[in-house]
């Protein structure tokens, strides 16, 4: 019998006092015992609201039942029917908004820790050599190129390869993973996990190429001449700045630059690695999303006196994953809510010395239902800073759209899709942040999977 009222297993984490000095993973994978206790809580509801709420439709009760039965290999295969990146999903998906948010146990006993179980299955099956990539269907003779190697492109590539198409993934940077690699820190997603998931796809026969910036190294038109279809999953990749005075002062980073230095270039290992980074005594991070949390927690690990996240609304409106906010707080990151940055103050040498803020109060809700910040006149104040990290979002990188005028975009610069989910160019499909402007890993993955379905259909009719 299931035991839903047993306490939710939250696994174990590195002590905050220790982990704020390292880049090792914060949360440990469930032990066998924890996993069994947690799996035992699942009621295996026939209506599976968790699975319905999962953007990629992971067979959640079914895989949990296999954990319960002790068959990790079967549990992994169950997950991999819909998602070929389980070790990543289990770690970075905002489960509270999807599966766990819809678990029937949530109100009374706390939701089943589905993320923790997915991760346990992926890590354990991999360690036991049971995380086997599915055998692709017989070769179709059709070729597809996926642009970018972030979550959306990887998911699309996996599904297309599974269907027997030849798939090439083209990445602009020197390492695969896109935002998983340059954006998400290793203490949330170890580099080894990204490498392994990419290896799994390579074992299925997906071909990977680095150092190709489509729109510069090769054009979309050239790719269309060589491939039967193209998937654009090139991501956001254009940082938004505030447009306030002082933004070009020395010591001001975009979140993308700061995170890329730390995560992709491993600047925290300098001088063993060659890319430097500099963090002074006081760091202010502007923004309230996951990038802001990641930047603040990376900054914390570079040993400043203080790291403060400054957000213009209150904690309730903050878009970051709850666990990330909690982890940041445990690690000593401070939060200043209801403040709007007005100016980055610099000294004569052009270095940041402070940020001037105005205080806000919450006004009426906006179109998304989040209460709008309203400035309180005369409430200006200065907060000292040696570094400022601007983490207020991203826009789509225009490299491909600029060099492909036939490809329609919206006024926000994202690639436009028609009601059938197609771009304005036949044979060209798109998903992830290049159509969303800046969303989550899971939405990007789901776009890739959905687009793979459309591409398969397109290739059959071609």
């Amino acid at each position: 019998m299931p035991n839903p009222s047993a306490p939710r297993q939250n696994g174990h984490q590195q002590d905050p006092a220790v982990r704020k000095n390292n880049f090792e993973e914060v949360a440990h994978t469930f032990t066998q015992e924890e996993a069994l206790l947690e799996a035992d809580r699942c009621l295996n509801c026939p209506t599976h609201p968790c699975q319905n709420a999962c953007p990629v439709g992971v067979h959640i009760p079914a895989f949990i039942a296999k954990v319960k039965a002790g068959d990790i290999g079967a549990a992994a295969s169950e997950i991999m029917q819909t998602s070929l990146l389980p070790a990543i999903c289990g770690r970075v998906c905002p489960q509270e908004h999807h599966c766990e948010g819809h678990c029937v146990l949530k109100a009374k006993f706390g939701a089943v820790n589905i993320g923790g179980l997915e991760r346990f299955v992926a890590d354990t099956a991999r360690a036991q050599g049971k995380l086997n990539a599915p055998t692709p269907a017989a070769a179709t003779g059709k070729k597809v190129v996926c642009i970018g190697s972030g979550p959306s492109s990887l998911a699309c590539a996996a599904e297309l390869r599974r269907a027997g198409h030849k798939v090439v993934v083209m990445e602009a940077l020197h390492a695969y993973g896109g935002v998983l690699r340059y954006g998400i820190p290793s203490f949330r997603l170890p580099r080894e996990v990204i490498n392994k998931e990419v290896e799994t796809l390579a074992e299925m026969g997906v071909e990977f190429k680095t150092d190709i910036l489509v729109g510069a190294t090769i054009t979309l038109q050239e790719l269309l001449a060589e491939y039967d279809a193209v998937y654009i999953g090139s991501g956001a990749g254009l940082p938004m700045m505030l447009g306030i005075p002082g933004e070009n002062a020395v010591g001001v980073y975009s979140a993308n630059e700061f995170l890329t230095r730390v995560n992709l270039m491993q600047a925290y290992k300098f001088p063993q690695t060659d890319t430097p980074i500099r963090v002074g005594q006081h760091v202010i991070v502007l923004g309230g999303g996951n990038s802001a949390m990641d930047a603040a927690r990376c900054a914390m690990r570079l040993a400043p006196q203080s790291v403060t996240i400054a957000y213009r609304r209150s904690r309730e409106e903050m878009p970051a994953r709850v666990a990330e906010v909690e982890h940041a707080q445990e690690e000593g990151v401070q939060f200043e809510y209801l403040v709007t940055p007005k100016e980055i103050v610099q000294d004569e040498s052009g270095h940041v010395t402070a940020v001037r803020f105005t205080r806000n109060e919450l006004g009426a809700p906006d179109e998304k239902g989040r209460r709008r910040p309203v400035e309180i006149p005369g409430s200006d104040f200065l907060m000292p800073a040696d570094n400022v990290i601007v983490a207020i979002g991203q826009r789509p990188n225009p490299t491909i759209t600029k060099t492909t005028p036939q490809l329609k975009t919206t006024e926000r610069g994202v690639i436009a899709l028609n009601e059938k989910g197609e771009t304005s160019l036949p044979g060209v499909f798109a998903g992830g942040d290049i159509i969303r402007g800046g969303a989550t890993v899971l939405l990007a993955m789901n776009d890739g999977i959905v687009a793979a379905g459309k591409i398969k259909e397109y290739l059959e009719n071609k």
Binding site: A172, T217, S254, F270, P276
Partner: protein, 284 residues
């Protein structure tokens, strides 16, 4: 022959090397004013380097590198037959090539190599090309024969007078204009202070200046924004909007401050390398 392989290496002076590299996709699409990003080893940094020449038929690109820090020293230690680990390009917006009439092309030190493809394209577009090549001393003037071949007039100058006129590029430019030459546009690549003063002089002389900027870069694709520069009071990304900008309104002082951010770290990197390898890089 494999991608990124060094087919030919030539030493141009004590600290400057020329590499011809097999990289067909870049060779096919490169244009004057564009650059590549290089990495030499795992853990290595991403270093932007201007494309000096390319040959679509042979599938080769040519770059010229001056040893100024650990990474460039390590690049310059690569041998013929070795390969760069990563080469991404061609990056940046090509320089607008058209017939301006008479143009001044000004290169300082290794900037001569960087300005060479622009001089060549301008010459092919029918411009009268007046090239001013400056350096501290004779050995540091590179590619003079190549520049001569694409220039109507070539004017080297050195700080110590060991080659060409003794003095700065600004002195030479001024005397050319004073001799009655009417120049419409100027293209400047070199150290930032040299670009700043040359641009200012050009404006005084009625020449529309353009300068190629070299801020700190990471990805080179517009993703990180580290290469922010101020042009016409607006924030621009040198990697995608540039690297060449109208120099009339470039905030050169800001660029100097921003490029200085990691000077001490570069020194640390060199010292660390020297300690590890028990050697002296002998950088200037």
């Amino acid at each position: 022959m494999q991608e990124n392989e060094i087919l030919l290496k030539e030493q141009l002076n004590e600290v400057v090397m020329k590499f011809v590299i097999y990289k067909p996709l870049i060779a096919k699409s490169a244009k004057a004013g564009q650059f590549v990003i290089l990495r030499g080893r795992e853990g290595g940094e991403r270093v932007p380097v201007t494309l000096v020449d390319w040959d679509a038929q042979k599938g080769t690109i040519t770059i010229i590198i001056q040893s100024i820090g650990k990474s460039t020293f390590m690049f310059n230690s690569l041998k013929q037959g070795d390969s760069f680990l990563n080469i991404l390009g061609p990056l940046g917006t090509p320089v607008e090539i058209k017939n301006y009439g008479a143009v001044a092309v000004v290169g300082g030190g290794v900037g001569i190599a960087e300005v060479y493809p622009i001089a060549r394209a301008l010459k092919e577009a029918g411009n009268k090309v007046i090239s001013v090549l400056g350096a501290r001393t004779k050995d540091l003037i590179i590619l003079e024969p190549e520049m001569k071949a694409v220039s109507d007039l070539i004017l080297p100058c050195t700080d110590d007078g060991s080659h060409g006129q003794k003095g700065m590029v600004t002195d030479v430019l001024k005397s050319v204009v004073e001799s009655g030459e009417k120049i419409n546009a100027g293209f400047i690549i070199g150290p930032i202070p040299m670009m700043k003063f040359t641009a200012k002089l050009m404006l005084d002389l009625g020449i529309e200046p353009y300068a190629s900027l070299n801020p700190i870069m990471l990805d080179g694709t517009g993703m990180c924004g580290g290469c922010r520069v101020s042009v016409e009071g607006k924030v621009r990304f040198a990697c995608v909007d540039g690297p060449m900008f109208p120099a009339r309104t470039i905030d050169f002082d800001e660029l100097i401050r921003r490029t200085g951010e990691y000077k001490d770290r570069e020194k640390t990197a060199v010292e660390h390398y020297e300690k590890d390898h028990q050697c002296k890089l002998g950088l200037h």
